[in-house]
Subunit: 155 residues, 2 copies
DNA sequence: TATTGTTATACTCTATAACTATA
DNA sequence: TATAGTTATAGAGTATAACAATA
């Protein structure tokens, strides 16, 4: 049996009488699946998508990338190596501190980043297109609140 | 459906600062984080947690496990190898078809599965404990609806 | 021939520890 | 000494292709 795509994801039957934890977990898997569908099309992993996202508005050093992605710096070395091999990012040496290596999107990387962001937004929009405007507003507001509380709790 | 105008979108997200796709993505990361906190405590990966979940009420063959997890059967061989090495699952040969290898939780695996499930439920409950009962009900209902539509769309 | 699993191989992703270069 | 990054190494997780055993 061949897996048709790069991602592995769960697809279990949804229900009506779900507990809130179950509903949350399944919603999370659905969202993850939507993101991975886009990533797969461009042969990107989730981490690579996140890397592109981090570089979208910044030109951080390797250490800062590691902090953003919550990875060890040695993991970022390989991650950037692979992205560089694909021509998506470029390493440049900082003039002010010759120890730091800045990472930046190439023109091709920038193009791909914009495209992927737009496609993910589209997939997520499709995911909620069956909801009424009222429910969409509710979901947005409640989800925002949950995220907010969680973020404050963890700094 | 027409693409909403820029101003309409601003109206839709007024008061929250997040678009619905953003809110969904961030909520998904928060949920994933909650699950991973539990998994980490028990030195489990997300896939291993899912494997335990699949085996909770079943004793499937390797092929069926692969289908449940949406993995290639060769990937499941290694996955089950590692779980078996840790004493969490056991391979047994089926009597009716000597090709198939059934996978079952050991006593220790069953214990861990119950504990992990309970802890994940607890983490997710904590995630939403700041919501009013009304908002919790809304979130549960709306999330269930999204998951339901998504599941039906993908069969 | 078809199905179920495993093996061989290769790649991504991740971490820890040791190393280099710069500050 | 301390910091930024890479290298060496190990292991999990994934896939494809080739194989063995059974149906």
């Amino acid at each position: 049996m061949a897996k048709p795509s790069r991602s592995a994801r769960r697809r279990e039957t949804a229900g009506v009488g779900l507990t809130l934890p179950d509903a949350l977990a399944q919603l999370s898997f659905a969202v993850h699946g939507a993101i991975m569908r886009v990533a797969d099309v461009h042969d990107l992993s989730l981490v690579q998508v996140r890397l592109l996202g981090v570089l979208r508005d910044r030109e951080p050093g390797m250490f800062a990338v590691a902090a953003h992605l919550n990875l060890d710096k040695s993991s970022v070395t390989g991650l950037v190596d692979r992205a560089e091999r694909r021509g998506l990012v470029r390493r440049t040496t900082a003039l002010e501190d010759r120890r730091t290596v800045r990472v930046a999107l190439t023109a091709r990387g920038r193009l791909l980043t914009r495209r992927v962001a737009k496609e993910i937004e589209g997939e997520l929009a499709r995911l909620v297109e069956g909801l009424s405007a009222t429910h969409r507003r509710s979901l947005s507001r409640i989800a925002g609140h949950v995220v907010d509380v969680d973020a404050r709790r963890r700094g």
